[in-house]
Amino acid sequence: MVTDVLQALRFASPRATDPEVAVGIDAESAVVPHFATHTAVSAEAVLCANNTAAASEAVRCEEGAQVVTRDLRGAFELEGVSIRYGKETVVSGVSMCIPSKSVTALIGPSGCGKSTLLRCLNRMNDEIAGAAVTGAVRLEGVDINDGKVDAVEVRSRVGMVFQRPNPFPMSIYDNVAFGPKTFGIRRRSELNGIVESALRSAALWSEVKDVLNKHAFELSGGQQQRLCIARALATEPEVLLMDEPASALDPVSTQQIEDTIAKLGQEMMIVIVTHNMQQAARVSHQTAFMLRESNEAPAELIETGDTKSIFTNPRDSRTERYITGRFG
């Protein structure tokens, strides 16, 4: 049923991949429809689907067959990225462009290398014995795997939030102030300001402003995860990587996290790994679909594009089958 509607929509849409169609449509109107309500999607919505959040035409960036215009300032470019664990290649030949000031979702079935790819954006794969990344991962044109680039510096620019909340065993305040303190900020008033603004950005301030000295472990799971977001934001990263940030949380907490992501995505680049397609549809501007075709083959990037076109008008039949729930 859903597939039929998707098919119908595809024919109804006038070449959704055409950049000319995409440019100039107000990003705010491009509210991504809830996946379950696809039957109600109008042709206009599909038109909007190819809109980009950061629709500035600074640089043209190849994404497979599709040519999309993107702003490269602060953007990630991946070129032929392969990741090996020992002898086994787990991710192969990923080339894509991740624009700044937007939310990009990595979707795909379990074990398809989404998290592995995410971890190579802040060199966290360095910490795994035997892991090797080849190809270029460029942040603002600089290859972060270059020998001259320090992993510690990359990670201070590219923050990360993990699947399970991992607050440090200390107070709420100390968790958020941890990063700034490491960077040498000592003045109490300055720290207070950073802690407050980070907690506000993570939509946690109103709940914890009176109990900042409480131990972080006393917070609920959803609060802990927003605390981890605040902790990551306190170091003012340009990019925030999120590895299934809501998968261990209840629906209400998930909603709060998603709202936070939507707000943050206007200011910074967010890359989110999720196995929840509805979540990808709700929060992201761009979507990349990854797939491991067999247990022996490495994972590959199948398709990238604006979230709406991926969800309503996928170019690859494998993407369509995954989106419509035929596998994965």
Partner: protein
């Protein structure tokens, strides 16, 4: 037919289960009984000294002259000796032991780590009398010339050697506590742009601190009870020890050196048992606290 057989099997399984449970309970009871028996034995034998000399007079008496008349049974020389030797041992072993544990758990991995770990634990298999000999031939002369003392047989020499003896305890228990810290915390810290070193010092060690503290307490218990090394190289003086460069005798050292010469059932004999009781209670309490701390820190991460 098959029905009755399965019933039979069930019956025998039940019997075996009950027998095993009884055996396990019995063995647990035996260990507890042994502990209580030791305590009772020490208490009974020390009654006479406590009655005739007085508990406080023994604990705080500064003179230990068990064979003069009238005899003096002050424990303070031995208590101060034990305290100094143990203090020196812990002060030396703590930074080295905790440092080694951090290195093992945070900075090396794979085969190198396994080999290094078992080498450290090998120290525990060295007989303490061998370490005593080593101290006597190398450490004691060195201390005498380096600090220009009349004799190298000092609390310092014994403390250093006892420190080596409590290293394996401190290293292996601290290392357990450090590896029990969830990897998610390390990942979180590294992902914020902290170096491995900052992560270890600011996150992992504080998170594992209760376990490390317990390791130090257990090392303390090990050091207080050590007999042979102090008997050989502490100098065995009968005076209250006031510094690391003085000759010392410890509680276990005093008991071991004198128990063979006393009259069974006499006052001196009873005083030695009182000394053993003090030693037993102090190590028992320290170990109890350590066990509590370890238990609490283990529960902390199992949520």
């Amino acid at each position: 037919m098959s029905h009755s057989r399965s019933r039979l099997n069930k019956e025998s399984a039940r019997l075996a289960n009950n027998a095993a449970r009884v055996a396990i309970t019995l063995s647990a009871l035996v260990s507890i009984a042994a502990l209580l028996a030791i305590l009772c034995f020490l208490l009974l034998n020390s009654f006479r000294a406590v009655g005739e000399v007085g508990l406080w007079e023994m604990l705080s008496g500064t003179i230990w002259h068990p064979t003069s008349s009238p005899p003096a049974f002050g424990f303070l020389p031995a208590e101060s000796g034990s305290l100094w030797v143990t203090l020196i041992a812990i002060v030396c072993a703590m930074p080295i032991g905790v440092g080694a544990a951090v290195c093992l758990s945070e900075f090396i991995s794979g085969r190198v780590r396994e080999v290094a770990k078992s080498l450290v634990e090998c120290i525990a298999t060295v007989p303490s009398v061998a370490l005593g000999l080593l101290g006597m031939t190398f450490l004691v002369p060195w201390i005498r010339t380096f600090f220009s003392l009349p004799s190298g047989l000092t609390a310092l020499a014994a403390g250093l050697m006892v420190g080596i003896l409590c290293l394996p305890t401190i290293v292996s228990i601290s290392e357990d506590a450090l590896t029990a810290v969830p990897d998610a915390l390390r990942q979180g810290s590294l992902a914020m742009g902290n170096t491995k070193w900052q992560t270890a010092v600011k996150i992992v060690v504080p998170a594992a601190w209760p376990g490390i503290f317990a390791a130090i307490l257990l090392g303390f218990g090990r050091a207080v009870g050590e007999t042979m090394v102090v008997l050989m190289i502490a100098g065995n003086s009968g005076l209250v020890v006031q510094g690391p460069f003085e000759a010392a005798r410890t509680l276990p050292g005093t008991i071991a050196s004198e128990v063979a010469e006393v009259v069974r059932g006499g006052l001196h004999y009873s005083a030695l048992f009182a000394m053993a009781l003090v030693l037993f209670l102090s190590t028992f309490v320290v170990n109890l606290i350590a066990a509590q701390v370890i238990d609490r820190s283990r529960r902390r991460w199992s949520r």
